[in-house]
């Protein structure tokens, strides 16, 4: 399948310390989810890398190694704006030093996002971010995910700041 690209104006949105959710399934189509601690969009915008804590994410990582199918949903807590990308895991690997630094920065930014909706920062800062692995996902489809009648529709790039 041809790869889809995250619209340029949404790269910042995906990387801005908002909620990231990862969905997978096993060989019998039983689903499992996890909460990555960071997301990075590739320069060509056709891959996304999510950071998955090794212990909490053990089940989804096993699924990804088994069949590679992945869904990643991004939601901005303050206004519930969201999008979902679907694709295929092409690598589960160790984080680079730069990615480790970005993961720490993600957690700080995520704590700030949740603080805006009433979650005290120290509680968010409890989240385990290491040991973790980087999961590279080739993007095949992109959907709107903001709650409402259009949730689940293919994303139309509007040129606006958020989907």
């Amino acid at each position: 399948m041809a790869l889809a690209r995250i619209p340029e104006e949404l790269v910042g949105f995906c990387e801005s310390g908002i909620s990231v959710l990862l969905g997978t399934r096993d060989a019998t189509n039983r689903p499992a989810c996890s909460r990555p601690v960071g997301a990075m969009v590739s320069p060509a915008r056709d891959h996304v890398t999510v950071v998955v804590p090794s212990e909490a994410g053990a089940r989804v990582l096993a699924n990804l190694r088994e069949n590679g199918l992945a869904a990643v949903t991004f939601v901005r807590p303050i206004d519930n704006r969201g999008m979902q990308v679907k694709g295929r895991c092409v690598a589960v690997r160790a984080l680079s030093a730069e990615e480790q630094a970005r993961t720490r920065a993600y957690l700080e930014a995520f704590a700030e996002s949740l603080h805006q909706v009433g979650m005290p920062r120290p509680r968010t800062m409890r989240l385990t971010i290491e040991p973790a692995v980087a999961v590279d996902i080739a993007i095949e489809q992109i959907f709107q995910q903001t709650p409402g009648p259009s949730a689940g529709a293919p994303l139309q790039s509007t040129g606006s700041e958020a989907p």
Binding site: P31, R59, A71, D79, G82, V117, R123, P147
Partner: protein, 451 residues
């Protein structure tokens, strides 16, 4: 491990749960759950507001996996589920629908944003997600220790207050005071239906300053209005989050369709309320009021508060209902002469606007509808023949007031009038002399103008 091992606060939606599903051809989907409802140790229900991908997947492949979070510790739990059935109506549907209705009506989306079905799932497994969060969190500050005097003593105190109340005014005022003394509820209000039974007005409030008394809400609108319409308890643990969700959907609806959404309804109560607990007062299937408490803190009320307030509400409903009807003074005591002070130089001008049944005092809005007509009757009688004593009974017989033949709410209207005068025109008072009987007192001259 089963669901009973999870803290109940996990199901209050403060930290929203995540659900993964999978299509028959193996494509996973992941999203937030709007409402996850605990049914019993082996079953949960999920709200379905839109026929979205989650629901399409479930129809073809019934398995779902949910990650659920403790909002105080951010501990995570994983539930593997199998779809059992959808309930498009019935008691579970009504219970889950109520919160959505409250949010929808408050954000101007009544009927646009609604529950389609309560989807019931069997819980196949429950486990704590290891390695999700770091060190333990000290939960001491969040524990609801219950009332300092003990639970039974607190019930005894409030219940005794209800039993001793001399009249309706005393009942509602002392009820809210005792709820604060016994339970620490600092922000509370009691609303009763008006003559039309399509609206409620605030008969007593505590912790809202002047703005509380008289505030109105339509049946089915906003948090209190939905409690009144559905006659069910509504407990919201993170009002701001719920409203934010409602506003997001509202924007989406506005952008994506021609549907009309109406403006947001101002929430009666605390602007900063994060926790809201509304309990209906019902006697024989008839709504006699709504008791609501609020807190600026999220997660301020738990199951215990709900049960406590429900017991109190049941007793208050009976007392309130009895007092609404009761205007039988044994006899009318004779008035002390000249209860109305001789006119001083100060004059307060009351204007009655026939067009909309309202009374203004010195150009400031005072009151409207039945209470306005009662005031006008009383002031006119006093102007005509210096009368200062009035009984509920004579008002009931006065066709101009337009009271319904039964359950007429007269007493609650008099209380509302009394409180509005205290706030807006303390020179003129209508204190109660005995049950079903009140007196007009004035420290000023009164001018009457009909417009």
């Amino acid at each position: 491990m089963d669901l009973t091992d999870l803290p109940p606060r996990c199901f209050q939606g403060v930290a929203p749960a995540v659900v993964a599903t999978c299509s028959v051809d193996g494509v996973p989907n992941v999203t937030y759950v709007s409402q996850l409802h605990y049914l019993d140790p082996r079953r949960v229900a999920m709200s379905c507001q839109f026929f979205n991908k989650t629901r399409q997947n479930i129809d073809a492949n019934p398995f779902a996996s949910v990650q659920l979070y403790d909002p105080l510790t951010f501990d995570a739990y994983e539930l593997d589920l199998r779809f059992d059935h959808a309930e498009p109506n019935g008691p579970l549907f009504d219970e889950m629908s109520m919160r959505i209705q409250a949010i929808a009506s408050h954000t101007g989306m009544k009927g646009v944003f609604r529950l389609l079905s309560a989807d019931v799932y069997e819980v196949l497994s429950v486990r704590k997600v290891e390695g999700f969060g770091g060190e333990e969190v000290d939960l001491t500050p969040f524990r609801h220790a219950g009332p300092p005097m003990g639970e039974l003593r607190a019930l005894q105190l409030v219940s005794g207050t209800l039993a001793r109340a001399a009249d309706l005014d005393d009942l509602v005022t002392s009820l809210l005071a005792s709820l604060e003394d016994a339970m620490g509820f600092q922000h509370s209000m009691l609303l009763v239906p008006d003559e039309s039974r399509a609206r409620l007005f605030t008969l007593a409030s505590r912790g809202y300053g002047e703005s509380g008394v008289g505030a109105e809400v339509a049946l089915g609108e906003g948090l209190v209005g939905v409690v009144a319409k559905e006659r069910r308890i509504l407990r919201l643990s993170d009002v701001e989050r719920d409203l934010r969700y409602g506003r997001t959907v509202r924007n989406e609806v506005e952008v994506s369709s021609e549907r009309t959404v109406t403006p947001e309804i101002p929430l009666p109560g605390l602007a900063s309320a994060q926790s809201h607990l509304g309990v209906p007062l019902v006697v024989h299937e008839r709504l006699v009021g709504v008791l609501a408490v609020e807190s600026p803190r999220p997660l301020a009320f738990d199951e215990w508060h709900e049960a406590f307030l429900n017991v109190i509400a049941n007793q208050a409903a009976l007392a309130l209902d009895r007092m609404m009807d009761d205007d039988s003074p044994a006899e009318v005591p004779h008035a002390p002469p000249s209860a109305v002070a001789p006119p001083s130089r100060k004059t307060r001008t009351f204007r009655f606007f026939k067009a909309d049944d309202s009374v203004f005092v010195d150009d400031e809005y005072l009151i409207r509808n039945v209470a306005a007509r009662i005031l006008w009757r009383v002031l006119s009688a006093n102007a005509a023949d210096r009368r200062t004593e009035f009984t509920n009974r004579e008002l009931r017989l006065d066709p101009w007031l337009g009271l319904p033949p039964v359950k007429d709410n007269l007493e609650s209207r008099i209380i509302l009038l009394r409180k509005r005068l205290e706030q807006k025109c303390p020179d003129v008072r209508i204190p109660s002399c005995s049950r079903g009987h009140f007196r007009l007192e004035a420290d000023c001259a009164i001018a009457l103008v009909e417009v």
